[in-house]
Assembly symmetry: C2
Homo-oligomer: 293 residues x 2
Amino acid sequence: MAVLTAEMADVASSIDKALEALLPPVDGYEAQVFEAMRYAVLAGGKRLRPFLVLASAALFDVPTARATRVACALECVHTYSLVHDDLPCMDDDDLRRGMPTTHKKYDEATAVLAGDALLTLAFEILADEATHHEPLVRSELVLSLAHEAGAHGMVGGQMIDMLAETMKLDIGAVTRLQQMKTGALIRCSVEAGAIMGRATKDQKHALQNYAHDLGLAFQIADDLLDIDGDPAELGKAVGKDGDKETFVTLLGEERARMQATMLAEQAVIHLDSFDDKAELLRLLPHFVINRRS
Amino acid sequence: MAVLTAEMADVASSIDKALEALLPPVDGYEAQVFEAMRYAVLAGGKRLRPFLVLASAALFDVPTARATRVACALECVHTYSLVHDDLPCMDDDDLRRGMPTTHKKYDEATAVLAGDALLTLAFEILADEATHHEPLVRSELVLSLAHEAGAHGMVGGQMIDMLAETMKLDIGAVTRLQQMKTGALIRCSVEAGAIMGRATKDQKHALQNYAHDLGLAFQIADDLLDIDGDPAELGKAVGKDGDKETFVTLLGEERARMQATMLAEQAVIHLDSFDDKAELLRLLPHFVINRRS
């Protein structure tokens, strides 16, 4: 596991540098929205989605510089979703990664705009020639991200999550919600590596299954952290799920833990057809369910 | 001018149909975000940006079906910007196109998400093979839209506009604000036709200059309507600019009108190198400055 945590730290540091270069401060009256974008996206975090992009791209020997750009695009989208989800009209959170949320640091208007601009920047990065010399690959990356991040994916999941505050969901509905809300971007991160690497259909399928199980395991772990996590380690409030149904309320703590472990093991099995290059991806699921932040 | 208004009505009707087909209602708990997207985007409007896409694409005999998809993408982005700009934390508007704004009809969270999803959908439309068989064209369309709609363009313009409420801008700053806030998407609409049509560098340049002057003329007319427009005809409140500096406060009404007329005439001159196919584009600037809504 030490190999994985060292590699994740390396990825986080290279992503920070790349994001810094992609999003330099600007002059002019519009500077504030750039500052807010930088504040939100350069605040650290696990960089799980970038790690997935890089690790899946590495399966196919995709040059790291290209994969890093795509990883940054995914992180921009993830960050925009956090900035908007933290807004008073959504989850109304004051703290994120141990720091004031973007609307607390600036104001709501700036947070809405910074989120909008980060989402837009992600597509600008993907469509740029520097990301890949083949326009078809760029186009497929855009299509995949737009599909997974939109109303049929991440945004639709957040919509259901908002309604879940006043509506009792069953286990099927909660699973679907989470596959959309957090699963979609995790799936897209892994798929991005496959698109850049021109993976075969079977390889794509295997990676999709891996991402599916990893995403659910990740979310169950998240729900568990909401009941027994340490706010200081997490850098955000716990107990936020309130009356909402989660994997933990629906399955109970013990079964939720068992389910997460089973999904993590299953995720690894989906990688059987890959060689040693998949080692980091094989280590990740157990890291994800045992994390404390 | 009757030719133009008839053509604009035709475009509006074909765009309504195309948007309806691109954005069908869905089942499932996420239905609400789709309803809100449909509510916002199917509410009518002049469809000026779609008209510009179609008219500029027609210069190069681009098939209408393709241009219509791109026109819908531009309208999705325009609509998302209205939905977010109308939010209480931004311009706090209750009425748009004569109907309750999206956050009034639904709620703020749904409006934020519907805006996010419309922006994302625009990129999904552009990157889809159905939009153009050449991946390079799709990729260029995405790049252009992302650049013009992002923090260096439309979103940056809205950021400045928010700050302008507490800051006195001079004519140079107001011009730059408007070139970003409304000019960027107008420019992108015209450029989209040029990209699909594989225009020469000179043709692109001429169209950019046209869009530049048209965009400013449009905005001056908008500022004039804010002081003397009819809320019933406009479908939104007037006098909203309040203490903010606009072309009208900075130039005075008479000079603002002269400036709009001069820009409209200049826009038409930029089209000199085009043949009769540019007739609708030639009629548009004077329509734009004489509109009552």
